[in-house]
Subunit: 335 residues, 4 copies
């Protein structure tokens, strides 16, 4: 399998998701770990057998670096995309592109000017169950799509510092469901209506953000979409999809660490709590996303999950924010 | 068990739901079947061993008639309530009270002037599973209520004539989910947002009505509510509830005719299609509703499911209509 | 519906199962309750609106008694069958016919000499789920039957006095599974192998009886049958069937009082404990068995569940006893 | 992680199970592939990046070979164990040790004389679900073990040539369930009773073998065990465990390729067919078994799944053969 040398940019949580998967993938080689603080870069480089670098220009001119994986803080994504595109390096960028549509358009302009292969890390598309549901829908198992539903309930609220810079719950989290459901539906909403509330964590409310939301999308076909988000969930990371069509319905089940069923005097047919959070639940999807990136570059085809998809998802998420604040349905425009 | 003599008003579909249940209940006696067309009254009276009558004044002055069950067309409910209230007869009235808030208020004024026991037939409250879910929530099994969800998907669209006089999908059907969820929540929404579409039956769309809707309610506590309605469903009458709280979740399962699980080369762990429609699925609930009516009158306490509940549910359903048409969130007022 | 006047013989637990069901059945009339102690008869007669009698000859010559339901202690069944048969009364007899094959043959001789309609109360055949499983098998859903399995685990051991006169676990309880599985299979075993153990209640072991057994039957077709019995079960009355064929498998699910699914921090997708015991689980089956008896007599056809079935089941149960004691496979003969 | 150089002996189906797992394990190095036919060895060696060898003495004196993995035909296991033991090499041997107790004892004598670390490939112990069930039982979740049940139904009968040299169904397949259940129970049966039949493949019957068996074991504690085996299964590779105790029950669920639930007009809540066969279902278990072997050797402790376990399982499987043929319960002895 032809091998691709990668520069992993960033040394935070997401970098540590991608590091081991790059090492496990037979077609990928971790060449460089980049962080402007060399000590951080070195620590991660030691872990994943790469070279530590703190100068991005050096990274981008390294002949062994065939492509970059951007896993840095969100507000750096656009700058790094511009630099990598100019250097002609294929780019895998952790989502979201940015929290601002203006800056997203700047990234897209750079990619237009320097058309390198680009993939946005909408990892949930690459989860085997989500992909199998889409396949079942595409095969016509449910007939025409009439309704789509997605639940994403997180085990517990993030630190308030995270919330403050997250762009808000819709932009930070709902955006995942939005992209996934548009990808399954094969269309983007003409109407966006969202409602939010704050019942778990009053600090989040004090920031003007929500910790529970319900979002309704109306598609050009007439299909209706419901997105159910919560920052807290007692029984684990609740991740479900439901696609309802005129010929039937298909759903995805939650994941657990074991497949035992327990019967006792209090409860019967009981299962374990769910996988704890996205790292546990979607572990495989990150590997599969890198595999898609690798396969596309090797085959010379554009990777799925494009910058346009990222812009559209952000547009919809921002419409959610607006709808929830103003109590009106928003008709987004996709230029 | 003290017995109550009933006049069953009406001989349509709902009258034939109540007739056999009155006969099966040890505390109820079917005395009279009323229909202005005496032949229709006689046919039903023969079936359920009552006396046929076509003069409502005679019915309401019959000393063996202790109470009335109104199962006539919706637009007659208010008139009959006024007459029965004036005659001092306890009233069980099939839902909805009326499609117009003005007329609902007229009925309530009559009940204020002549305070007879009154019960509105919100039968889904009396379904054993729905009641068990409410009980579980009340016992604190899920902690505080954060989200409620209700699915009501019907097997196939009603005749277009029915649709035309139904008051629209929200008033005809969503009103059931609305009442049930407010009853479970113990509160009524401060914000109502609804979206509709028409994908199954273009005749329904031509009437300006929807055959699929998604409704979001926001409660005073902050709890969010989703209602999922469809006029068509390939796999039967899909009826589900989900109550999500800070300590857990409780759901109700769909009903089937048998409890077999089937495994073959195409599908494993498969179950039968669902019960066909509301008559099959909610059969027990109509009996239980009559039992509540009987028990309340015998005990001298007001029956649950009041005219106020009916008015509130209609107010909310009308807010759904308005929200779906105008694309804005409505803040209903409950006078 | 033509009505049948019944004499209910006995006033013990099973009589109180049948009493309310006779009253609820539109084609049955409880005429007489018989007990040699008139006070006991009177108490039950008051409850079920019949006449109390303590002289069986009077009962059997009462012109309003069209048939008898024998729900007396097992050791009286044969005598009462002989008397009722001589009197020309159709007989519904609670299982087992008797614990001794000799006495069973005496009953069968009486029925040969006085061929009245006779039905043995193998109620589990009339359980809707068990019947639906047999129907699915008969329709060919699983192809040919290769294996059958039945679980009957009781919530807790009976009083030791009951155990002492029960004929042993195989004759008292396994006999139900035996009849049910032979009825589903449409054939009777050519080989019987059984193993028992006593781990729950040492008093049962002291009587030489078992409180857990596993029984294997081999059918003429080659099909293998497993019966799994336990006198104790922490999570309720565990009743399952599994029919495995060359084209698939069909199973029955356990019953619960509600259809809720519970999710919390300890357990997910959990259901209630099972129905407590046979009275709760098989309530409907007793009504259905009486309905079969009524329908057969009205139609002039022999009721299903014959004396021959009872004799065969007892023959197999006694073979289980012998196999478990001697550690050898027994080849039963059915004369 | 300290690395162990392995000689993989054999190039058949099981060798191709172990090859990729040795390569994937960070603590294992595939040094040599051995086959007396060098061309076969070379082909597999190329695949897994090892050196091909056809002389076992050379293999066993290679200083880079730290241990051997025996994945050759069953009738060679004992000879190769003797040679490897004499050479002082730790041994991982695919099950069964041999089909003959005499030869098994020869292997054990060799291991006594040359006490190298030895592990028998009872891979099902290392399946995460089976291990989780045992852990749950050990933690006391079900109280005391009263009953254990295991289902192993294969998708379709093996070629008749395989059957002929397999030692019969009990020795070839039931032996897996036997080992797994004794390992979970923590004890070995004092009584063995088995029944077999042949309904799927008449060629198997013509060989005097069975294609369906039911086995009952009685444990010293009194616990009863049922093993359910079939050479054919329409819906895939049916693998289930059920552990029933005085405080509850725990079961393992079957595995599928996806986690979708399908609802349509014919079937609801339906899942995919099961994983096809043992290579798909137990893939992870083979990796975990090698990991146990590696961990034990590195830590200097004996690997679990010993030669004694293999001998005991064979003793019990041979008792099954004898019981099924003679129709008597066998009391095995474990010297």
């Amino acid at each position: 399998m032809p091998t691709l040398g990668l520069a992993l940019m960033g040394t935070g949580r997401m970098a540590h998701v991608y590091g081991p998967k790059i090492n496990a993938h037979p077609g990928l080689r971790l060449e460089v770990v980049y962080n402007p603080r060399i000590a951080s870069a070195q620590k991660a480089a030691d872990l994943y057998c790469g070279r530590a670098m703190d100068d991005l220009n050096v990274v981008l001119s390294d002949p062994k670096v065939d492509a970059v994986v951007i896993a840095t803080p969100t507000d750096t994504h656009v700058d790094y995309i511009e630099m990598a595109a100019r250097a002609g390096k294929p780019i895998y960028c952790e989502k979201p592109l940015d929290q601002s549509l203006d800056r997203v358009e700047r990234a897209m302009a750079a990619l237009d000017a320097h058309p390198v292969p680009f993939m946005l890390g909408f990892n949930r598309r690459f989860d085997p169950d989500n992909a199998a549901l889409r396949e079942a829908v595409r095969r016509g198992e449910i007939g025409r799509i009439n309704m789509l539903m997605s639940w994403s309930r997180e085990p517990s609220p993030p630190p308030i510092e995270y919330v403050r810079t997250s762009g808000g719950y819709f932009v930070d989290a709902t955006i995942h469901d939005i992209d996934l459901l548009c990808w399954i539906a094969g269309e983007r909403p003409v109407e966006v209506t969202a409602t939010g509330s704050c019942m778990f964590d009053s600090e989040i409310g004090a920031e003007g953000d929500f910790d529970m939301t319900m979002t309704t999308l109306k598609m050009p076909s007439g299909a209706l979409v419901h997105i159910n988000n919560s920052r807290s969930c007692a029984y684990g990371f609740d991740q479900r999809l439901e696609a309802f069509g005129n010929a039937g319905m298909v759903q995805t089940l939650n994941h657990r660490d074991d497949n035992l069923v327990r019967w006792d005097a209090r409860r019967t047919a009981a299962r374990e709590p769910l996988k704890h959070f996205f790292l546990e639940r979607y572990d495989q999807s990150f590997y599969n996303a890198l595999d898609e990136f690798h396969g596309a570059i090797i085959a010379g085809r554009p990777p799925s999950a494009t910058a346009q998809d990222g812009k559209a998802a952000l547009t919809i998420a921002l419409a959610c924010v607006q709808s929830a604040k103003a109590g009106v349905t928003i008709k987004p425009t996709y230029s």
